[in-house]
């Protein structure tokens, strides 16, 4: 386009007269260039307007919309600037930023609170569930015992869980970045599980038309609960056996945040290589270490530890108590037994260490205490006993002493009644004689009764007695004269009775002889009675003649009563024409019934 100010060539030589400001010239110019000039001016104005801020302001929104629709170049170009701008803005005026994002924060906070409340409600539900069970009662007891609020006890027990696996998953691709599991748990397909977890998350998100950010957070399969904690770059998924507590969720969140912070560069460059995330392994394994609730573990360990040393101690204590009780029982049994023993009086009894110490009185005739204690199982080597002798008036000891003093044979028994000692049984004439003549009775006995003791003759004397009583002085029919042939028999009877009398006399006994006179049945009764008396007198007289004291014999004329038996009539008649002898030995001073 020609420059309007450039002068046209001076073809007509009018240059000197040319005045650009002249009216004619202006008219000419208007005629020639007017329309174009106006167009030019308009274009210039438009251009100036477009290049001014006002023009840009009008067109910028349209331009941005157009470009954003085409590709993401603009967003990429602006991102760093916007980041810087926001950073700067936050630094300079945090209050305004806070105000600005409050509408965003509000719902987020509300959401967090709602989740916390849900966890609390869950805890309360569990508590209520356990309140009326046996376990609940146990926990109540524990709360009461330890002075801890019941709710805390419930939570302590309820929150038992075990984090079995932790996955760190790349959010966009679902690829496994890090997997942590205890060595004993063989997991070979963690990468597939990780992909599937992501797919399920997507599936749930898609299926239920969740808004952005609304992700599947937790799902349970039997005893297992999978907690999925989503983050912008990665997802942390924990497989938990049992009841995961709310604290676990917080822990996972913290771990996830740390991972995002520490591995920001690795996330930015991620293209399938998980190696840069290896350092996060330890962080994930830390989550595994909370195998059980700390409190629970500690409490359990505490209880176990207590048991470890307490159980043997209790057993030992029980054994000691048992031994002590057994010893105590043996001791008290021993003391009781000794106290009950006649002739033993315990003044002092004590047990120190293993030694039993006794002080007291003991009748010499009492049982030996050491023997009694040994019979009770006591160790007599550790027995320290001193007994002072004394005389006991216990009936058993009184009789024992009497037996000793009287040298009583075993055939004599004693019975003490009051202060009278009754002797019973049988003893020799000599013993009875000695006993009755004892100058002093043992203590506790004032009287001795020997009347119940049968006095036996010594064998020699018994033989004499038998000899006498076996003799029979026979007479002729109707005669009371001692036949010469019978005198020898009568003489030996006399000698025997003299010896017997002498022997018993020495023991304080007198020997009496009864002469039993008989007659045969011929003749009258009166005749026979008289005849039997005559025969007795004849024999008695003869005995007196032999030296027997007249008062030592007595006659019993039986007549025909109490006849002796015989082989036949003649023999019986002969046997009953006789005098027989009965010997009676009785104490000299005793009443007539005497010893039997």
């Amino acid at each position: 386009m020609p420059d309007e100010r450039a002068a046209p060539p001076d073809y007509l030589g009018l240059a000197r007269d040319y005045d650009p400001a002249s009216e004619e010239f202006a008219e000419l110019r208007e005629l020639l260039l007017g329309a174009e000039r106006r167009q030019l001016a308009q274009l210039q104005r438009q251009l100036e307007k477009e290049q001014s801020p006002e023009g840009l302001a009008d067109q910028l929104p349209e331009a941005i919309a157009l470009r954003s629709g085409r590709d993401r170049q603009l967003a990429r170009a602006l991102a760093p600037t916007i980041d810087d701008a926001i950073t700067e803005s936050v630094r300079q005026n945090p209050r305004e930023i806070a105000t600005a994002i409050f509408p965003v924060l509000g719902p987020a906070i509300r959401k967090a609170l709602a989740e916390a409340m849900a966890a609390l409600v869950e805890s309360i539900n569990r508590a209520v569930e356990h309140t009326f069970s046996l376990r609940g009662l146990k926990w109540r007891l524990e709360a009461w015992r330890t002075g801890t609020p019941y709710a805390q006890i419930v939570i302590k027990h309820a929150l038992v869980y075990r984090v079995e696996q932790v996955f760190l998953i790349h959010a966009e691709t679902g690829l496994l970045l890090v997997h942590a599991a205890p060595p004993e748990l063989k997991v070979t397909d963690a990468d597939l599980i990780s992909g599937m977890l992501t797919a399920i998350q997507d599936f749930v998100g898609d299926s239920f038309q969740q808004q952005e950010g609304g992700k599947l957070r937790t799902f349970s399969v039997g005893e297992l609960t999978v907690i999925v904690e989503p983050g912008p770059q990665a997802v942390l998924a924990a497989v938990v056996r049992g009841q995961p507590p709310e604290s676990l969720l917080v822990k996972l969140q913290e771990r996830l945040e740390t991972v995002h912070f520490q591995f920001a560069a690795a996330f930015a460059d991620f293209s399938g290589n998980a190696a840069p995330f290896a350092p996060a392994q330890a962080m994930l394994e830390e989550c595994l270490e909370t195998v059980l609730s700390h409190q629970r573990t500690r409490a359990a360990r505490g209880r176990l530890a207590w048991l470890r040393w307490a159980l043997p101690l209790v057993l030992l204590a029980a054994a000691l108590v048992w031994v002590a009780l057994a010893r105590q029982r043996r001791w008290s049994d021993a003391v009781t037994r000794l106290r009950a023993e006649p002739g033993i009086e315990i003044v002092e009894a004590e047990r120190s260490g293993g030694t039993w110490r006794f002080r007291g009185l003991k009748d010499p005739l009492a049982a030996e205490p050491a023997v009694i204690l040994a019979g009770l199982g006591a160790d007599t080597a550790k027995l320290d006993a001193r007994w002072k002798p004394y005389v006991s008036l216990e009936p058993s000891l009184v009789t024992a002493r009497a037996r000793q003093a009287l040298s009583a044979p075993a055939s004599v028994n004693f019975r003490l009644s009051g202060d009278t000692l009754y002797a019973e049984g049988a003893a020799t004439l000599a013993w009875v004689s000695r006993a009755s003549s004892l100058p002093m009775l043992p203590p506790g006995i004032s009287f001795l009764s020997l009347s119940a003791v049968a006095a036996n003759l010594s064998p020699e004397l018994a033989a004499l007695k038998s000899q006498i009583e076996g003799s029979l002085i026979l007479f002729d029919i109707g005669s009371a004269a001692v036949l010469p042939a019978r005198r020898g028999t009568l003489d030996s009877v006399g000698a025997a009775i003299l010896s017997l009398s002498a022997a018993t006399g020495r023991l304080g006994y007198r020997t009496d002889l009864e002469l039993l006179g008989r007659a045969d049945t011929t003749g009258t009764e009166e005749t026979n009675q008289n005849l039997s008396r005559a025969r007795v007198d004849a024999v008695g007289g003869r005995l007196v003649g032999l030296g027997v004291r007249p008062e030592a014999w007595s006659g019993v004329p039986l007549g025909v009563s109490n006849p002796l038996p015989g082989r036949d009539g003649i023999d019986q008649a002969q046997a009953n024409r006789s005098v027989a002898f009965v010997v009676r030995v009785r104490p000299e001073a005793s009443p007539p019934e005497g010893p039997r």
Binding site: H170, A171, E172, T173, G174, L175, L176, D189, D191, L192, I193, G195, M196, A199, I200, D202, F203, G205, D206, S271, G272, N273, A274
Partner: protein, 169 residues
């Protein structure tokens, strides 16, 4: 080990699952397709001494009633489109599947497996279709039945995710 997410996309019945069944490690049953809509398998491929773990997202085939969830494609490092060479409509839908892949995963390497290559008698794709495929990127004939082309397909995919495959689009 480097891991890559690979999505297998195709119309219902193109044999995606059969394609991988013999060649991958799987712990999930096929019923995941009807429930979650995806089954995840693993295939480790050795590329010049480097092991690449392909995490294969075997997406349920698209049918008339149900579209493929785009969220499953998100973050893929590569996409394997599977076409049934005996059914023309599975080829026709390739364009829209490609578009789905691009919108969800961005410009990631992809290839097309023309499956059921063993059924030559029923093959309906001609030179024109193959030329069209060639113009759009890499493709291979595969047969889940004979195994032909399968290893090569995964090998190509693995290389592509590493940025080594020629002709990656």
């Amino acid at each position: 080990m480097i891991q890559k997410k690979v999505c297998m996309v195709g119309v219902f019945g193109t044999g995606k699952t059969s394609l991988v069944q013999q060649f991958v490690h799987s712990i999930f049953s096929a019923k995941y397709h009807s429930t979650v809509g995806v089954k995840i398998d693993r295939k480790v491929v050795d590329i010049g001494g480097t092991s690449v773990g392909l995490v294969l997202w075997d997406l349920a085939g698209r049918d008339a009633s149900e579209d493929i969830p785009a969220s499953y494609l998100k973050g893929s490092h590569a996409i394997l489109f599977v076409v049934d060479g005996t059914r023309r409509e599975t080829f026709d839908q390739l364009a829209s599947l490609r578009e789905l892949g691009r919108s969800a995963a961005g410009d990631v390497p992809s290839m097309v497996a023309l499956n059921k290559a063993d059924l030559t008698g029923e093959w309906v794709l001609g030179a024109r279709e193959e030329a069209a495929l060639t113009s759009q990127g890499h493709w291979l004939r595969t047969s889940a039945k004979t195994g032909a082309g399968v290893e090569e397909a995964f090998d190509w995919i693995a290389r592509a995710t590493l940025g080594e495959a020629g002709g990656a689009s």
